[in-house]
Structure formats: structure tokens, C-alpha cells
């Protein structure tokens, strides 16, 4: 790259200012190589599950808990509980996962309104006929409805 400039002097000599592009291109090449090598093409994330055994992750004192029992890939039983007592129970049935997620979100909002936003946790009970992908999808739905403290019942074990 070169730029010719008039100096304005009487001699009117053209000043040629050359910018050496080679180190600049070298630097850019090194940057591109480094960034390409370290680039992450698959975006991974985590859904945190807090198992209550011996931790503070259990239901907050006096708080409500939503119980979500997976009955089948198309049906879920939801309960609003407080101190072990069931306040409200609803069965959600849908034909697709998307519909199920929407219905679960609706019931979760209803429960939250009833509990005056004091729902502190949700406890999911898995089922052998339901895939892990479904479980995660429902957990994702609950998290998006501001129920972030999630637990999973260890079927066949203690929780």
C-alpha cells in the first residue's frame, strides 16, 4: 500500500509513505489460526440439579414445592406441596413434547400464583418409559418458569 502526498514545498517532491503490510498480515494469520484452533463449534451448557440429601438445596423452610411425576411420555402428574401436604394436584396430558412443555409451563405458573411466588423447588420423579431427553426438556421448562432449584428422585435409591 502506498500513498503519494504533495509536500507543498517549492521543490514539490512527492512523499511516498509505504505501510508494510507483511507483518500486519502475518499477525492476522496467527490470530486466525489461534482462534480457529480454540473455537468451540458446539455450544454446551449445564442444567444444575441439586440433590437434597444433606445439602441446603432442599426446599426452603416454609416454602412450596412442585412435584412432577412422569407417568408416560405424554402425561405428567403435577402437585403443589408444602410440608408434605398436597395443596393442589393436576394431571397434564398432551400428544407432543412441545404441547406437554406448554401445558407444564401453564400449570407451573398457576401453582406459583397460588403459592404467591413462594415455590422454592421442584422435584421430578422419573419413569422407565420416559427418556432422559424428556426429563431434561421438562426441567428446562420449569427453569424457564423461574423454578430453578430442581431435584430428581433417585428411583430405586434414596434421595
Amino acid at each position: 500500500m502506498a500513498a503519494a502526498m504533495e509536500t507543498g514545498s517549492s521543490s514539490k517532491r512527492a512523499l511516498v509513505a509505504d505501510i508494510n503490510l507483511v507483518p500486519f498480515i502475518d499477525l492476522l494469520s496467527v490470530c486466525i489460526c489461534f482462534l480457529l484452533i480454540t473455537a468451540v463449534w458446539v455450544q454446551l451448557g449445564i442444567l444444575e440439579v441439586k440433590q437434597s440429601q444433606g445439602t441446603s438445596a432442599a426446599v426452603a423452610e416454609g416454602g412450596f414445592e412442585i412435584g412432577v411425576r412422569l407417568v408416560s411420555p405424554a402425561a405428567v402428574q403435577m402437585e403443589l406441596r408444602k410440608n408434605g401436604r398436597v395443596w393442589q394436584r393436576k394431571k397434564v396430558v398432551a400428544s407432543t413434547l412441545k404441547e406437554l412443555q406448554a401445558a407444564v409451563a401453564g400449570v407451573a405458573q398457576e401453582f406459583r400464583a397460588r403459592a404467591k411466588n413462594q415455590v422454592s423447588a421442584a422435584l421430578l420423579t422419573p419413569n422407565a418409559s420416559v427418556d432422559y431427553g424428556y426429563l431434561v426438556a421438562l426441567m428446562d421448562t420449569l427453569r424457564r418458569n423461574e423454578i430453578t432449584n430442581l431435584g430428581v428422585v433417585a428411583v430405586g435409591g434414596s434421595r
Partner: protein, 172 residues
């Protein structure tokens, strides 16, 4: 010029010299100029794009053969031991523990390995409390009860904060 020979027009030597002169005259300088501006522009755009997608947070190595479930509300990955359920086998930090079924029936080996990891961490950070975090990778087609049982075992080994690896929705 000494030794110069006047060539007779129409002679073969005259023809050769004339041809050579013609060639020299017709040879034009071919100037190939590489336009660096476009290349530098492209490089700059690439660098900006790659810098934007750069992530300094720790990354999980997804074990081959696992199709992770998708989630929108996934958080940022934190560094922790990785427990992976792949094709009916259980791996802890890419070391084989055993078959999933056998491990669920007799979790001694898994418990011992988890305990060793916990003690190793405690040795490295004696002044800190063990965070009890573990990353769990599993295929989305696995029955949810298997995951529930694994979680039960893991929480018995004092890993209470289980981070389920998920694909952020939108990525392939």
C-alpha cells in the same frame, strides 16, 4: 562494430535475426498485482467473527456416541469431574468404571472412584470446602430412571450438585 556481418535480405540468417527482434518487441512486461486490501479486509472480518465466538469458559469433552439432550436455559459449564453414560458403559473422567447395569446393582467401584476424586480435590485445596459438583453426560434416549439411579449413587458419594450436560438449543 568489428566482425559485423551485413546479412543479405532474404537469407536464412536474416530471417532468424528478424524473427528474434520481433519476439523481443512483442514481449510486454506482465505485471501481476495482488490486491491486498480485499485479503486484509477478509482477515479482519474473520478475526472479529472468531473473537466474538471465543469462549474462555471451561469446555466439556463430549464422549463419542452421546447425543445430548437440548435445553434453552442451560448455564455456563463449570469445571468438575465428568461422569458419562455411553453405550451401556459408565466412565468417570474418561476412565471405564463398568457396565451401567452392573454398576447400578453394585455401585462399590463407582463410589470408591468418586471418593478418590473427592479426596484428591480435598488434598489439593485443604482450606476449601468440597463443592460436590459433578458433570453428568448421558444420551437423551436413556430411560430417565437410569439417570435417577445414577444421581442417587452420586449424591450418596457427597456430590450433591449434579450438572447435566446439555446442548444449547440452536447449536447442531
Amino acid at each position: 562494430m568489428l566482425g559485423a556481418i551485413r546479412l543479405r535480405p532474404g537469407s536464412f540468417h536474416h530471417h532468424l535475426v528478424a524473427r528474434k527482434h520481433k519476439r523481443v518487441q512483442s514481449k510486454r512486461t506482465l505485471l501481476i498485482a495482488l490486491s491486498l486490501t480485499a485479503m486484509v479486509d477478509m482477515f479482519a472480518v474473520l478475526v472479529i467473527f472468531l473473537l466474538q465466538s471465543f469462549s474462555a469458559s471451561p469446555e466439556l469433552i463430549v464422549t463419542k456416541g452421546i447425543e445430548l439432550p437440548k435445553a434453552i436455559s442451560g448455564g455456563e459449564i463449570r469445571e468438575a469431574p465428568v461422569l458419562a453414560l455411553v453405550n451401556g458403559e459408565l466412565f468417570l473422567d474418561q476412565e471405564l468404571i463398568g457396565a451401567v447395569g452392573a454398576t447400578l446393582r453394585a455401585p462399590k467401584e463407582l463410589m470408591a472412584r468418586l471418593k478418590a476424586v473427592r479426596e484428591g480435590w480435598q488434598k489439593d485445596y485443604p482450606e476449601k470446602e468440597f463443592p460436590g459438583e459433578i458433570n453428568l453426560q448421558a444420551d437423551q434416549s436413556i430411560p430417565s430412571t437410569v439417570i435417577g439411579q445414577v444421581m442417587g449413587i452420586v449424591s450418596q458419594a457427597h456430590y450433591y450438585s449434579i450438572q447435566l450436560a446439555v446442548l444449547a438449543k440452536g447449536s447442531k
